[in-house]
């Protein structure tokens, strides 16, 4: 379902920006409210407005990981926040009290910060994604940011861009010169989970068809089984996803696949119950993790990861699989090694990034 806001709320300072012009061109006739300044946290009853502001924070930052579990060293390029897909488990429900999508119009400052970061950072390899605080491609038909970012990263010798999405909005990617430096990634779940818990996201069929198209244009792909959800018949459900995945795409073109079971701050539980009364994701048993988030009981997590590993590696034994936010003992039991055995998780993924 293509995102279409009911109105725009735009700070006057960014009225003439290319982003605003692009969005207005893509939404002719949409009501616009011009404002002086939108606060950092502006509550809205409906969440149907698209806000466009001048961003005063840092555009490039490290992914908010935790010291208790292995982190992959991903970096975020923050062009906006919130998401309208309304997945029941989404942590953005707790992260942002403003339900409206918000875009940052000072793209020139974003690109300047990105250039300086890549030039000055001591890191050997940068894996940068735009899909942490929003969906990377949900608004691409309006923002056309891929037309800026994909060619930019094509010229970077030591950086890759990951566009992570639950949509099939890939049309603009077709004609872009990506240079092998953009990885298009999809979160995947079984159809029955998508129908119940990701109600306005693209279907599995649509996501895989979009992946197939992107692979046909030469893009490298990634897939995130995150969150992995335990429900009756989860084994059969994820088995179907893996079958359909490898029917749609060539595994040789997959850079990495991440596995991460459902985890969330305890405060999100009330929100999920209130906003998604038909969701069954809270039926499984949860325990507090080392980072305070509620997670499935460890033995179940190991069982799920082991099962997915078997399904995936039986198709292509050299797939790069990694666990998101897990401790070494779970890595060892589920995948048979720990990140330290391969130089650390960041190093593992850096090698994959630049092949």
């Amino acid at each position: 379902m293509t995102y279409h806001p009911e109105k725009l709320v735009i700070e006057e300072e960014v009225a003439g920006s290319p982003l605003v012009r692009s969005i207005l061109a893509g939404l002719p006739g949409i009501p616009v409210q011009w404002v002086d300044r939108l606060g950092e946290e502006r509550k809205s009853e409906t969440g149907n407005a698209l806000e466009i502001v001048k961003f005063k924070g840092r555009f490039v930052k490290a992914c908010p990981g935790t010291r208790f579990y292995n982190c992959c060293g991903y970096q975020i390029l923050n062009f906006g926040n919130q998401c309208s897909l309304g997945c029941s488990y989404c942590i953005l429900q707790a992260y942002f009290s403003n339900p409206n999508l918000r875009l940052f119009a000072n793209i020139d400052e974003m690109m300047q910060e990105l250039r300086e970061h890549l030039r000055n950072s001591p890191r050997a390899v940068h894996r940068i994604g735009t899909g942490e605080f929003t969906d990377s491609l949900l608004l691409d038909h309006l923002t056309r940011l891929s037309e800026l970012l994909v060619p930019f990263f094509a010229k970077q010798p030591n950086a890759v861009l990951e566009l992570k999405t639950k949509t099939a909005q890939v049309d603009l990617l077709e004609k872009l010169d990506h240079g092998g430096r953009t990885i298009v990634a999809w979160s995947l779940n079984p159809p029955e989970v998508i129908d119940r818990e990701e109600t306005t996201a693209s279907s599995l069929k649509e996501r895989l068809e979009a992946a197939r198209r992107c692979q046909g244009w030469g893009y490298r792909l990634a897939f995130h089984f995150d969150p992995l959800l335990a429900y009756p018949k989860w084994k059969e459900g994820y088995g179907e996803v893996v079958d359909r995945l490898f029917s749609a795409v060539d595994p040789d073109g997959i850079v990495w696949i991440s596995l991460g079971t459902l985890r969330f701050m305890p405060s999100l539980k009330v929100t999920i119950r209130h906003r998604h009364p038909l969701s069954i994701i809270l039926d499984e048993e949860f325990v507090p993790g080392l980072d305070g988030k509620l997670r499935y009981f460890r033995d179940l997590r190991v069982e799920m990861y082991s099962h997915l590993k078997e399904l995936l590696l039986s198709v292509h034994k050299d797939l790069c699989l990694y666990l998101c936010m897990e401790s070494n003992d779970v890595w060892r039991e589920a995948l048979g090694f720990t990140p330290a055995d391969r130089g650390g998780l960041s190093a593992m993924l850096d090698r994959q990034a630049l092949f």
């Binding site: 208790f68 335990a230 429900y231 048993e285 993790g289 009981f297 460890r298 033995d299 069982e303």
Partner: protein, 331 residues
């Protein structure tokens, strides 16, 4: 300052059904009766004349009720002009009460509910919530308002302090049958407030997963047996009920704990040595606790543990297993 006239009023002229200005809730304090009987009524109640010739109680409802109970026919009251607007009378009642005592949660709820007829929510929240020692927030406002519709048995328990308002807020969102089932349990057995909260959440989770009501879960055969085991102390019965519900909500964790206990026993740890898994078996760090009185004891225990450390049984104890099948948990 409102002018009043002292007047002797017949108690049968008091409109006991008009509670529009009353915000007190709870039984008559026994010491109030004793005080009036001993030294008489010191502070006259405040009433307002009505068109039908009766008098509306504004302040001192308990004093009037106490006088009626001890058999007085009349007493001196201060009478407000009948032209005084109702909102002002209500404010008099509220401010008179908060000036000399702390209101119970039901009374706070009554204040907010009654003033809502006259003020917009934001103004009501700003003026009255701090007056009631409440954080001015719309969420808390709605919670207190929700208490207003609870059953009398719940209100009595809350007013008497037997039910904590945090629990009342949680129960206010439940169906009546469930709510009363929790109340019976919490009045019967000693659970701390935080354990009560935990039990409400646990039972709700079980109810959703198993498509039952809270009432059905709380009146199950197993729970009834635990509650009625009168030979066991109440505290022990409460702990067993909590454990039973936790096990039902978390079968995997429960099975894992049972396996750990069994395997630790079978491992043959030396006396004075205890293996402690990580909380919820989450994370890689296990703890070995060793108590000793002499160096030789320590040496002996550590030698024994060194042998055990090489045994595959110890490694197995630390590893995951499917302690219960997916079918058993409905997967």
């Amino acid at each position: 300052m409102v002018e009043t006239e002292p007047c002797s009023i017949q108690l049968n002229k008091i409109d006991w059904n008009d509670t529009s200005c009353l915000i007190t809730y709870g039984p008559l304090p026994p010491k109030l009766l004793l005080s009036i009987q001993t030294v008489g009524l010191i502070e006259p109640p405040l009433v307002q004349g009505k068109k039908n010739g009766l008098f509306r109680i504004v302040c001192g409802g308990r004093r009037l009720a106490a006088c009626k109970k001890i058999g007085l026919d009349s007493l001196t009251c201060r009478v407000l002009p009948s032209s005084l607007e109702h909102q002002k009378c209500l404010r008099l009642s509220i401010y008179d009460n908060v000036a000399h005592r702390t209101l119970n949660p039901i009374e706070k709820s009554l204040v907010l509910a009654k003033m809502l007829d006259y003020l917009e929510k934001p103004q009501l929240i700003d003026e009255f919530m701090p007056l009631l020692d409440l954080e001015p927030s719309i969420t808390l406002f709605n919670r207190y308002l929700g208490l207003h519709d609870l059953e009398e048995v719940m209100l009595d328990s809350l007013a008497a302090g037997r039910l904590n308002e945090r629990i009342a807020f949680a129960l206010a969102t439940q169906k009546q049958g469930d709510r009363l089932a929790y109340l019976r349990l919490f009045e019967e057995l000693p659970f701390s407030v935080s354990v009560q909260e935990e039990l409400v959440e646990t039972v709700e989770d079980i109810a959703r997963k198993e498509n039952l009501t809270g009432e059905q879960i709380l009146s199950s055969k197993e729970l009834r047996a635990l509650r009625q085991a009168s030979k066991r102390p109440a505290r022990q019965r409460a702990q067993e009920i909590r454990k039973h519900l936790q096990a039902r909500r978390n079968p995997r964790l429960t099975a894992r704990k049972e396996r750990f206990a069994r395997e630790a026993r079978d491992l043959g740890l030396p006396s004075g040595v205890r293996l402690v898994p990580p909380p919820y078996f989450e994370g890689p760090k296990w703890i070995l606790e060793c108590t000793f009185e002499r160096a030789e004891e320590l040496a002996s225990r550590l030698r024994h543990m060194a042998q055990l450390a090489d045994q595959p049984e110890l490694q197995g104890m630390m590893e995951s297993k499917s302690d219960i099948s997916s079918r058993e948990v409905g997967n």
